[in-house]
Each structure stands twice: as structure tokens, then as C-alpha cells.
Assembly symmetry: C2
Homo-oligomer: 464 residues x 2
């Protein structure tokens, strides 16, 4: 059953005149009584390969009836292509028809332009389209590059838990995980659900972040990262939110905020370069059909130094820029997308790393600065999207951490294991979080994150 | 804040006499009034590096009080080690004490032998031990090698959904995911839970496998794989089961069972070789302290051809081998671990790929063989563990698939999207599943899968 990938054939891996076999699905077909042109696709690259079939083939009558998405095995000779575009095509010696398409007239992926909404409803068939095929390959390239970047730099991948019983991170936005009877759950004497009888012996949820867990490994192995699914039960029906999405969360020991920011910049540039090197074919499609100038933007980003700016300076810039914003700006406010994009797109004209935010708008675990007003937090803002990464140095001083927990309404005892890291050989450390689907969306220009994950999960939507 | 990893220093990356800085935690310390020896560890490799501190250091009085797990930054000169074992050590010019250990006498990870049960109760601190540190690095190496193996071979990584509303895969063993009120859920007129009011608008669960989903991408991109968490709400308190574990599931189009089996063999050998090449230090620890002969076993496995054997032949072998088994053997039974291990360890003396199992003991989606009694399924059995991989060619013929679903008590309409793959350009395809924790357990010799994942989840256990 050995056969060649279309990617290898188009890349010239085999000499002209070689006899090879390729297997795939028909993208388009032009049939006439003397010879037919079949564009065959196997997902290994953006382009299909052209198959020339002539009437001498024993099953030519059946070949003339083929339609989009029929599956074939084609054996033939590689020849240089006469037409424009591709370098090579295949003159078929034999074509085995593997699978037909039942009722081609109603086939949901007929070769025409479909809306992204229509494609989402057919998420099991949409990888057969140019758009979703290209997204899938770029997504894969980005994921591989992320693992490679961290591995080459001595980071260890850690699988932090998906199911967590730490209900202290804001249970309102979390999904409960249970095996209790949903109609008649066991109750305690106080009439509450008796989770002691549940599978885990207590109430359990899906994780919203692996950060606190991965810090425990950071404080033993120095450089670690997570890359796994995280969950938010938020009812936000936007193009930037999913109920289930993948996060990358590196954590570095003996690191200050500057080290964390540099790691974020280096990682983004590394993965931009990887996708430019490895998936130029798919990027050209996105550049032509989805977002003009995309390749140029990625090339620029992968070479430009990211500007560092303090939050406090950014506020001054926004207040004095003369631009009218929907949300007014003042020291202490959380920046909106319009502010972030102004800074990156108009003021700097490139990526910016904003640093040292007011403690009131950031999480309890971020390290307090000496001014006692700001914390060592950072956001990476990129032109065309705004915030793409958020991170911080973590509070490594137990007394200050405890005070911040209490200020935030948390009970330090619930975090005894997180506090232990500060009791036993505490070190300065920090890290960041990257929403992987937002990265894929940014790199492909595909606006809605529901179109860059195989089977998107959102409010009222968990099909397939 | 730039410093060197201990791994690089011990590997001889820096010339002798170089002045460098290393940062890490104390493993052990021997202090006396004239000079002290500190073993400093940063997780970058198995071994700590020896620091020699003499009394001329300005803070020598404090250095003499240091204990296990205190964190330090040490700047000094690389010198050749006089003692046995390591090649290099560091003569400290200065030692900065970063973090102390609060009450060393009660520090839970004091330098002595702890039971694995005790370590599990301190899962946030156990990565500081030799055992869990080594497991973590080997686990990382295996994960990276798996991604590399598939990526180099043209596979695309697909993130199949974690939350699924397909309740047809055997809901009894699945975790429900919900945001409904757990005490008073909304009810339908029939008194059942009204999941139409739940977050996803229907009852949702945690996935038990990404296979059916990933087949949709296989039938468009030819070579794909998943690597993500999966869940079983089984109350089995064994050393081989977790409620949350990671699975690797490749799926190959235009492939028969032989192709799938070869892929499984190639992948295992690739990852065994990777860990032998990259983590010899940790493997030597496991070989000495956990399972004698482990390195030899991995070396042999990575070179040996895996024997193929039909289930039917295996049954004959087991019936006639003269050995008394706890569970009797007869054609049609599912093999137990004792049978699998006899075949691999005693009969073959190496890994075996068992093929073509009775349809009654296998899943509906496995391809029916021409004998109408067996399906094109395979299990990889390895010495010392038994089944490590299970896979099959998938049923690509719609009529037979439908018949098998009905036989298995399933409603084909619930699987309309899975059936569509057989209606529109169906192709022979197949794949396998590898439980990642079982692989890590096998490679390290660490018997209980709870000790090869950071924070294990099992019945009555979801701490941290």
C-alpha cells in the first residue's frame, strides 16, 4: 500500500519520468471524451496535483463520471507541467476508484464558496476545504514550533490537571465535573449537594489555567511549560472566546519580569519564522484570500524588536494623543482593545510590551513593585489584534502574597500548597499565558477563533 | 539575570577556569568551619553540581547554616572535580542566598527516602525528589519525541474536543460537564433534568477518546494524530488506571491493518531511541533504583522486530503451552494480562502484535474481515507490561458499519457525521491509541501511573 505524498511530488522529491502512486480526494475534475484533468488532494500541502487521464485507461467511462471528493489511487509518470502554476503533474497509467460520493448534487462540500457559518455546521467535512485545510496545517506548524522552542531552550512540558477541586479561582465561570445523579443528587443535612459522594469525593471543576499548578514544577525544575486545554463557562458570544481552548503557559525560575517578557518575544518570533519557513503555501492563500499583507506583517514581526512601555507612560500617551476613545482613559483603568490597538498600531507601529500595571486590575499572585501601587505584570500587544499574551513575575514573598490574597477575598489556607513554594526555598519566578487559538487566528488572519479549532465549543454549541 | 544551566556545565559546555553563575536548590550540604560542599540542583539534568565554598566568603557564617532546598545563586570558577562521579565542580567566588527553608526539621522533602504514597500526598513538592524529577524529564522527552515522530512523517496534530455531547459512547463511564444548579436543576415535564437549559444546550461529557472525531480530519488530510487528555469515570483503583490521562491517537488514510501496525512499531522504537539518546542520566537512575535491566530492555526493544501473530494462533499457543492460567483460554475470550505477558515474555521473548480478534470482543467501528468472524484489530503486547497499544483498521463500508452499530445497540442516526465519511469518498483507514502514562510507566519502570503524571486524578482523589 506504499504511496507518495502529493507534497513530496510537487516539491520535486522524485525525478521526472518516475512512476509513482498517489492517493487522495478529487478537488475538481474536467472531463471530456478524450482526456480528463483531475486535481487530486491529500492534505499534505495546499495544492492538489493535476492528474492527466486519457481515454485509453480501461475504466475511462467510470473516470468521466467522477465528482469532487471521490477518492482515488493513481499510478503514473511524473512529467513537467505545461500549464501555469505547478511544476509537475502525473500522466496516469491506472486509476483505481476507491470511494464514490453518494448523490454528488447534495454533497455538502460541493466545490463552491461556502460561508464560515455553513462550514461550522459541517465541521466534520470542513477540513476538506482549502480554508480549513490550510488552518489545520498552520495550526500544527505553530504547535510543533512551540514545543520545539521550549524543548530547545531546556523547558520541560508538564501536563497540569484538567480536573481541579480548587474551587477558589472563581467558580462562577467554571464547569462542574460530576458523576452524581443529575435529578436527585445526594444532599447533606443542610440541603446542599453532598459532593463527598461524588466521584472525586468533593466538588470538581474544569481548569481555567494550569499556572498555579505548574509553578510547583517550576520551583523544582526551573523551566517548565504547559500546553493543554483550558475552559471558561462564559456566555460571551464573541469571535475571540471559546468555552474550550488551548493555552501555552511557560514558567521560569530565577526570572524577573524582563526575562519573562524576553521569553514571550523570542517565542513569538520563533513561531512566526517557523510558519513562514514551513507553510508558505498556506500563508499565500491567507494573504490572497483572507487578509492582504499578512505575510509581510509576519515577516516584519519576526524581525522587529518589541518596544517596552510602562502602563503609566501608556496612559499619558493615550490621554494626550488627541484621539477620541469610546472608553475614557485614566490611570487605574483596564485598557480596552481600542487603546491597545492604538498603542501598537498608531503610536508604536509595531508590537509593544506593556508593563507594571495597577495592582487593583491584576491578580493576587503578581509581584508587588516597590511603589506599592503597581505589580510586575506585562501584556504583549500586537498590531491588528491587541493583547496576545499576558504574564507576570509572581509574588515570591509569603507575607505580601498572604496580604494580597486576603485583599482579594481569598483564604490563604485554601492555597497551602501554593504558599509552600514560598516557605521552602522561594525564588523569583514568572511566566505568561498565550491563548493558542488567538495565535492561530492572528497568524492566519481568520477572524473567528471558532474556525481555527477542529470542533469549537461555545454557549449552546457542542456538536460532533 | 543571565545564568548557566547545571546540565550545560556538567556536559562541559564551558571551558575549565570559566567564571559562571548557576542558580538552583540545595540537594545536600556538608558544612564545616573551613569549607563546605553544596550539591546544587536546578532540574536541568539528574545530577546536581558540587559547589565548594570556603570560609573566606563574606557570608560564610550564613552559608554554614544552609539546609536542603534553600535556593542559591552561585558565581564561581569551573574546575575539574577531584572526587569520583562528576567531571566538574564550581569553586564559589560568591554565594547569594535567595530563599531559606522555614523550619528545616519539618520540611516535608527532607533528604531521605520517602514512600511513593507519601510523595503523592505532597504532589506539589515531589518534583524536588530524584524520582519525580527524573520521571518528569523522561515524560517530557517521550512527549517531544512523539510530536517529532509524527511531524517528521507528515502527520498533523489535531486538537479533538475535550467536551463532547455524543452521549452514545457509553455514558455510564463518563463525567458530566454542567453549569446547572446542582441542588435544584431545571426539570422537564417528565421530571428529567432539562439539559436544554444547560451551558451547551444539551447534556455534555468529558471525552473518552478522540478517535471518531479525528477520523473526520484523517479523511481530508490523510495523516493526523491527537495528543490530549481523555477521561474515564471508572472506579478502578489499580496501578494502571487514572480518571484523567493523556492519549496519543494517530489515524492514517489509505491504510490497512499492516500499515497501522507498522506505524505503532516504528513509533515505539523511535521514542525508545530518543529517551536512550537524550536521558541516559535519568534512565541510569531508574535502572539502578527502580527496575534492574531497564536500559538493556529498552535497547533490545528499539532494535527487535515485533512479531505479528493472529489472535486465533495465539489461542492455540496458549491452550497447548501446558501452563495453568487463572482465566481459561478459548477462542472468543478477551485475553487477560497473564495471557498477554506469557505470549510476549515466554513464547516470543519480545514484543508481539496480535491481530484479527473476534468481532464480539471488539468495537463496532473495527473493519470486518472476510471470514465474517474477526475484525482487523491489533494489540501491541510488550514484555513486562502486556498490552501497550490497541488499534484497528476502521470499517469503511457504510452498510457493514450500520449493521455493526445496530448489532451493538447503537442508533446509526446519532452517528450521522461519522457515517458521512463513508458516504463521501470513503477510504480504507485506521489508527491506534497509546495511553501516554502507561508508556511513561513502562519506560521508567515506575509501576503506578499515579507517579508519572504531575497531579493524578482517580476516585476520591483530585487534590491540588
Amino acid at each position: 500500500m506504499s504511496h507518495s505524498s502529493i507534497s513530496d511530488v510537487l516539491a520535486g522529491k522524485y525525478p521526472v519520468e518516475s512512476i509513482i502512486t498517489v492517493k487522495g480526494w478529487i478537488r475538481t475534475v474536467r472531463a471530456n471524451p478524450n482526456f480528463s484533468f483531475i486535481n487530486l488532494h491529500d492534505g499534505s500541502c495546499f495544492d492538489p496535483i493535476q492528474i492527466v487521464a486519457d481515454k485509453n485507461l480501461s475504466n475511462y467511462a467510470e473516470i468521466m463520471k467522477l465528482t469532487t471528493s471521490c477518492s482515488l489511487s493513481v499510478t503514473g509518470k511524473i512529467v513537467e507541467s505545461q500549464g501555469k502554476g505547478q511544476s509537475f503533474e502525473i500522466q496516469a497509467d491506472s486509476i483505481e476508484i476507491i470511494g464514490l460520493v453518494e448523490d454528488p448534487d447534495t454533497y455538502p462540500m460541493a466545490p463552491k464558496r461556502h460561508s464560515v457559518e455553513y462550514l461550522r455546521e459541517h465541521a466534520h467535512l470542513r477540513p476538506r476545504t482549502n480554508l480549513i485545510g490550510a488552518v489545520t496545517r498552520v495550526r500544527n506548524t505553530l504547535a510543533q514550533a512551540i514545543h520545539r522552542f521550549f524543548n530547545e531552550d531546556g523547558f520541560q512540558w508538564i501536563a497540569t490537571p484538567i480536573i481541579t477541586a480548587s474551587d477558589c479561582e472563581g467558580a462562577g465561570e467554571m464547569f462542574r465535573v460530576s458523576t452524581l445523579d443529575s435529578v436527585n443528587p445526594p444532599l447533606t443535612d443542610e440541603g446542599k449537594t453532598d459532593f463527598s459522594q461524588d466521584f472525586f469525593g468533593k466538588e470538581a471543576f474544569l481548569t481555567v489555567s494550569g499556572q498555579l499548578n505548574v509553578e510547583t514544577y517550576c520551583c523544582a525544575l526551573s523551566k517548565v511549560y504547559t500546553f493543554g486545554p483550558t475552559f471558561r463557562a462564559e456566555n460571551s458570544n464573541t469571535s475571540r472566546h471559546l468555552a474550550e481552548f488551548w493555552m501555552v503557559e511557560p514558567e521560569i525560575a530565577f526570572a524577573d519580569l524582563a526575562t519573562v517578557a524576553q521569553c514571550a518575544e523570542d517565542m513569538l518570533k520563533y513561531v512566526f519564522k517557523a510558519v513562514l519557513n514551513e507553510r508558505k503555501d498556506d500563508l499565500e492563500f491567507f494573504d490572497q484570500r483572507v487578509q492582504k499583507g499578512l505575510i509581510q506583517r509576519l515577516e516584519t514581526l519576526s524581525e522587529t524588536s518589541f518596544v517596552r512601555m510602562d502602563y503609566t507612560d501608556a496612559i499619558e500617551i493615550l490621554k494626550n494623543c488627541g484621539k477620541k476613545f469610546e472608553f475614557p482613559v485614566e490611570w487605574g483603568v483596564d485598557l480596552s482593545s481600542e487603546h491597545e490597538r492604538y498603542l501598537a498600531e498608531e503610536h508604536v507601529g509595531g508590537p509593544v510590551i506593556l508593563q507594571n500595571y495597577p495592582k487593583e486590575i491584576k491578580s493576587f499572585y503578581m509581584r508587588m513593585n516597590d511603589d506599592n501601587k503597581t505589580v510586575a505584570a506585562m501584556d504583549v500587544l500586537a498590531p491588528g489584534i491587541g493583547e496576545i499574551i499576558g504574564g507576570s513575575q509572581r509574588e515570591d514573598r509569603l507575607d505580601i502574597l498572604d496580604a494580597r490574597m486576603i485583599e482579594s477575598g481569598l483564604n490563604p489556607e485554601d492555597y497551602y500548597w501554593y504558599r509552600d513554594l514560598r516557605r521552602y526555598g522561594s525564588v523569583p519566578h514568572g511566566g505568561f499565558g498565550l491563548g493558542f487559538e488567538r495565535l492561530v487566528s492572528y497568524v492566519t488572519g481568520v477572524a473567528n477563533v471558532r474556525d481555527v479549532i477542529a470542533f469549537p465549543r461555545a454557549a449552546k454549541s457542542a456538536n460532533f
